[in-house]
C-alpha cells in the first residue's frame, strides 16, 4: 500500500488515543451485534457491515468541528456512531422499530440525523456525492465556515456523477472533503479489474483538486490527513480529496460469501493491520493505559451495545399510521 503512514510517535494525547480506541471499538462491537441480530432475523433486507474500516470515520471525525456535515452511502453505521448518534436509535432503525432514527421507515441504508448533521445513508451508489457537494454549496452560500465530509467507495468512484461533481466543486470552490473509502472491492470486483487508476485520488488532478492517499488502517494517519483536508476547505481553497486505503473484513453485505478473495488475505489484514489492535498497542506500549483500563473500556462498550440491541428488540414496530406520514412536509 503506497499510502502515507504515521510515525509511531504520535503527537496525540492519551485522552485522544483512548477516545479513538473507544470509538473504533464501539463500531466494531456494534457491527458484530448487528450481524448477530441479522442472523436471528431481527434485521431484514440488506445490511452492510463496517468491520475493518473503523479507523476511517474515527480519524476523519477527529478533525471535524461542530456544525460540519457528513453524508455517505449505505455502509453507514460506522459514520453514524462516529459522529455521535445514539447507538440505540441506530440499532432500532436496523430492526425497523419506532425508536429508530427514521422511525423504522429508512432501515440500514437510509438513516439521517439533522441534530448531528448526518445527511444519510443513501442507497444509490454515488448519488450522495453531488448531494454532499450540495450541502457544501449551502454552507458556502450561507458563508458559515462549515465543511462537508462526502464519503464514497472505490466502486462509486467509477460513476459519472462523481466527476460531474468534481468539476462543479472545483469551479465553485465548494468546501467539501471527498473521502474515497477504498476498501479494494466494489462488491465482488477487485479494484484492478474495475478501475483504470491505481490511486483514485489522482483523478482529482484533472479537475485541479488536490488530494492524497492515506493508510486507512492507521487512525492517526487518517486524522493527520483529515486535518490537512479540512484546513484546506475551511480556508476557502475549495475541495480536497482523501483516498483512504482500507479493508472490510466481512462480505459486501450479510449475504455475500466473499469468494472473490482468499481467507488468507482477510486473515493477514486482520492479524497484521487491524486498526483497533494498532491503537491498543500504542496505548499499552506508551503506558497510556493498562490491560485493566482497556478491559474496563471493552466491558463498558459491550454494555452499550447490548443495551442498544435490547432497545432495538423491545422498541415497538411503528404504528400503522406511520405508513402515511412524512410523504409531504
Amino acid at each position: 500500500m503506497a499510502a502515507r503512514k504515521s510515525t509511531k510517535k504520535p503527537n496525540v494525547s492519551a485522552e485522544e488515543l483512548t477516545k479513538y480506541y473507544r470509538d473504533m471499538l464501539l463500531i466494531r462491537r456494534f457491527e458484530e451485534k448487528a450481524g448477530q441480530l441479522y442472523g436471528m432475523g431481527l434485521i431484514g433486507g440488506f445490511c452492510h457491515l463496517y468491520i475493518g474500516q473503523e479507523a476511517v470515520v474515527v480519524g476523519l471525525e477527529a478533525a471535524a468541528e461542530d456544525g460540519d456535515k457528513r453524508i455517505t452511502s449505505y455502509r453507514d453505521h460506522g459514520h453514524m456512531l462516529a459522529c455521535g448518534m445514539d447507538p440505540n436509535g441506530v440499532m432500532a432503525e436496523l430492526t425497523g422499530r419506532e425508536g429508530g432514527y427514521s422511525k423504522g421507515k429508512g432501515g440500514s441504508m437510509h438513516m439521517f440525523s439533522k441534530e448531528k448533521h448526518f445527511y444519510g445513508g443513501h442507497g444509490i451508489v454515488a448519488a450522495q456525492v453531488p448531494l454532499g457537494a450540495g450541502l457544501a454549496f449551502a454552507d458556502k452560500y450561507k458563508e458559515n465556515g462549515r465543511v462537508t465530509f462526502t464519503y464514497f467507495g472505490d466502486g462509486a468512484a467509477n460513476q459519472g456523477q462523481v466527476y460531474e461533481t468534481f468539476n462543479m466543486a472545483a469551479i465553485w470552490d465548494l468546501p467539501v472533503v471527498f473521502v474515497i473509502e477504498n476498501n479494494q472491492y466494489a462488491m465482488g470486483t477487485a479494484q484492478a479489474r474495475s478501475t483504470s487508476t491505481p490511486d483514485i485520488y489522482t483523478r482529482g488532478a484533472a479537475f485541479g483538486i488536490p488530494g492524497e492517499a492515506v493508510d486507512g488502517m492507521d487512525v492517526l494517519a487518517v486524522k493527520e490527513a483529515s486535518e490537512r483536508a479540512v484546513g484546506h476547505c475551511r480556508s476557502g481553497k475549495g475541495p480536497y480529496i482523501l483516498e483512504v486505503k482500507t479493508y472490510r473484513y466481512r462480505g459486501h453485505s450479510m449475504s455475500d460469501p466473499a469468494k472473490y478473495r482468499t481467507r488468507e488475505e482477510v486473515q493477514k489484514m486482520r492479524s497484521e493491520r487491524d486498526p483497533i489492535e494498532q491503537v491498543r498497542d500504542l496505548l499499552l506500549t506508551g503506558k497510556h493505559a493498562s490491560e485493566e483500563d482497556l478491559k474496563a473500556i471493552d466491558k463498558e462498550i459491550k454494555e452499550v451495545v447490548n443495551q442498544s440491541a435490547e432497545f432495538a428488540r423491545t422498541s415497538p414496530e411503528p404504528a400503522l399510521d406511520e405508513l402515511w406520514t412524512d410523504i409531504y412536509a
Partner: protein, 455 residues
C-alpha cells in the same frame, strides 16, 4: 453464562439451510470473528463467524444436516470453567420479526378518499386590474418576486445567467440578483440536480431550470430517489424544498428525443408535487406557490405557450393554490378535462362543439399531484360524459388514471365510456405532416366528445 448459537439467516430471504461443515469442535476456544461453520443457503455456501468469545460446549446439529430452520440452536457456547448444565433451555431471544402487523390492520390504513367539497372561488377578486402578460414574463416575475422575498431562493441551470435562459425565461435576473443567486451550470444535469437537492437538504430553496425536461431524464435518479423520498426515509427530519422547472412536451419539429411529455411519469411519485400550467396567471401564481412549498415540485412548462399572452391580475402577491382545478368554460353535455397545452385543444374543441349545439364543460387540472378529482367528479355528475385530453402517450396516461378514478367513484353517473385523447403511441417523428398526426388534434377532441354524447 452459556449462550446458544443459533442457525443464522444469511440472506434477506433465507428461511432454512444446510449446516455443511463445522470448522470447530466441542472444547475449542473461539474468539469473535472466528469462522465456526460453513452453511449452505439456496444461493451459496457462507462462512459463519463467532460473535461472542467462549468455548464450544456442545454441538447440537451435526455436519451435513439439511433443512435447518433459521434460529434453531446449533451449538452451545460456554465460558471458561463453566459446565454445560448452565446452558439455558431456550433463549429469551426468540425472534419476533417474522410476525409483523396483521393484514386486517393494513386494510384499515388504506389511503384516505378525496374530499367531496369543491372550491369554486375565483383566482383573484372581481374588479382587480389585469395586465396582458406572456407566460414567459409571468414565470420570470414569479421567480423575481420570490427571490426578493426570500434570500434562500436561488436559480441554477444551463444558460440561466449570462445568456438569460435558453428560452429567455430568466431575463434580467442576473442583473438584479447577481451571480451568487443566478448560477450558470456546466452541461451536467445529473450532477447539478444532485447538488441542488443537497443544498435543499441543508435548508436552501433552489429553483433548478432544465433547459428541457427531456434532459432531466439524466437527473431522474436524484429527483426521485433523493429529492422525493428523503423526507419519508428520514422519518420527517429533512426533505427537499425546491422546484425543478423547464419546458416539457413537444415543441415543433425537434424530433423524438426533444419531444416528450413527462406529466404521467412524475405524477406517479409520492413525495413529488406536479404542476402543469396553461395560462400566464397560473404560470405565475402556481410557480410562486411552488417556490414556497416545502416539498420538491416538478413544474412542467411548454415552449409553445411561452409566447402566449393571458390576463394576469395586478396584485402585490398573487398566488394560486395547488390541488384546485379551474373551470374555464361551463357546460352541460360533456366534461373535457385537460392541463398544460392540452387546454389549447380542449378550449378550441369546445368552441367548435358549441357551434354544433353541444355544450362542453372544460376543466384545467393545473396541478396533477395533488389532483383535484372532486371538481372532475362533480362535473361528471352533471354532464355524465367525460373526455380527457393530453399530449403524452396512451399507456399509463394521466387520462387513464382519471378514467379509472371516475369509474370507481362515479360509475353510476356515466352514460358513456370515458374517452382518453392522447398523443399517438409512437416516438415523435420529424416530418411536419407526421408530427401533426402524432400530436393530439382539436378534431380528435371534437370527435371524442361526439362519441361520448352519441352524436
Amino acid at each position: 453464562m452459556a449462550t446458544e448459537i443459533l442457525m443464522p439467516a444469511l440472506s434477506p430471504t433465507m428461511e432454512e439451510g444446510t449446516l455443511a461443515k463445522w470448522l470447530v469442535k466441542e472444547g475449542d476456544t473461539v474468539n469473535s470473528g472466528d469462522i465456526l461453520a460453513e452453511i449452505e443457503t439456496d444461493k451459496a455456501t457462507m462462512e459463519f463467524e463467532a460473535v461472542d468469545e467462549g468455548i464450544i460446549g456442545k454441538i447440537l446439529i451435526s455436519d451435513g444436516s439439511e433443512g435447518v430452520k433459521v434460529n434453531t440452536p446449533i451449538a452451545v457456547l460456554v465460558e471458561e470453567g463453566e459446565s454445560l448444565d448452565a446452558a439455558p433451555a431456550a433463549q429469551e431471544e426468540a425472534p419476533t420479526a417474522g410476525a409483523p402487523a396483521a393484514p386486517a390492520a393494513a386494510v384499515a390504513a388504506a389511503a384516505p378518499k378525496p374530499q367531496p367539497e369543491v372550491d369554486t372561488s375565483p383566482d383573484w377578486p372581481e374588479g382587480t386590474e389585469v395586465v396582458k402578460t406572456t407566460v414567459r414574463e409571468a414565470l420570470r416575475d414569479a421567480m423575481a418576486e420570490e427571490m426578493r422575498g426570500n434570500e434562500n431562493v436561488f436559480l441554477m441551470g444551463e444558460e440561466v445567467a449570462e445568456y438569460e435562459g435558453a428560452y429567455k425565461i430568466s431575463q434580467g435576473l442576473l442583473d438584479e440578483f447577481g451571480p451568487k443567486r443566478v448560477i450558470d451550470t456546466p452541461i451536467t444535469e445529473h450532477g447539478f440536480a444532485g447538488i441542488a437537492t443537497g443544498a435543499a437538504f441543508a435548508g436552501l430553496n433552489p429553483i433548478v431550470e432544465f433547459m428541457t425536461f427531456n434532459f432531466a431524464m439524466q437527473a431522474i435518479d436524484q429527483i426521485i430517489n433523493s429529492a422525493a423520498k428523503t423526507l419519508y426515509m428520514s422519518g420527517g427530519q429533512m426533505g427537499a424544498p425546491m422546484v425543478f422547472r423547464g419546458p416539457n412536451g413537444a415543441a415543433a419539429r425537434v424530433g423524438a428525443q426533444h419531444s416528450q411529455d413527462y406529466a404521467a411519469w412524475y405524477m406517479q411519485i409520492p413525495g413529488l408535487k406536479v404542476v402543469m400550467p396553461y395560462s400566464a396567471s397560473d404560470a405565475k401564481g402556481l410557480l410562486k406557490t411552488a417556490i414556497r412549498d416545502a416539498n420538491p415540485v416538478i413544474f412542467l412548462e411548454n415552449e409553445i405557450l411561452y409566447g402566449r399572452s393571458f390576463d394576469v391580475p395586478k396584485m402585490d402577491d398573487f398566488t394560486v393554490p395547488f390541488g384546485k382545478a379551474r373551470i374555464w368554460r361551463e357546460g352541460t353535455d360533456a366534461t373535457i378535462v385537460s392541463f398544460g397545452i392540452g387546454m389549447h385543444y380542449a378550449l378550441e374543441a369546445a368552441d367548435k362543439l358549441a357551434e354544433e349545439g353541444i355544450s362542453a364543460e372544460v376543466i384545467d387540472l393545473r396541478t396533477l399531484r395533488p389532483m383535484d378529482l372532486p371538481t372532475v367528479i362533480k362535473s361528471v355528475m352533471k354532464t355524465n360524459r367525460l373526455v380527457t385530453v393530453e399530449e403524452g402517450w396512451p399507456q399509463g396516461s394521466v387520462g387513464s388514471y382519471i378514467a379509472s378514478e371516475v369509474m370507481q367513484q362515479a360509475f353510476d353517473y356515466l352514460d358513456a365510456p370515458v374517452v382518453t385523447c392522447t398523443g399517438k403511441d409512437v416516438p415523435m417523428p420529424y416530418a411536419a405532416n407526421l408530427e401533426r398526426h402524432a400530436l393530439i388534434t382539436t378534431d380528435e377532441v371534437v370527435a371524442a366528445v361526439k362519441q361520448v354524447t352519441y352524436r
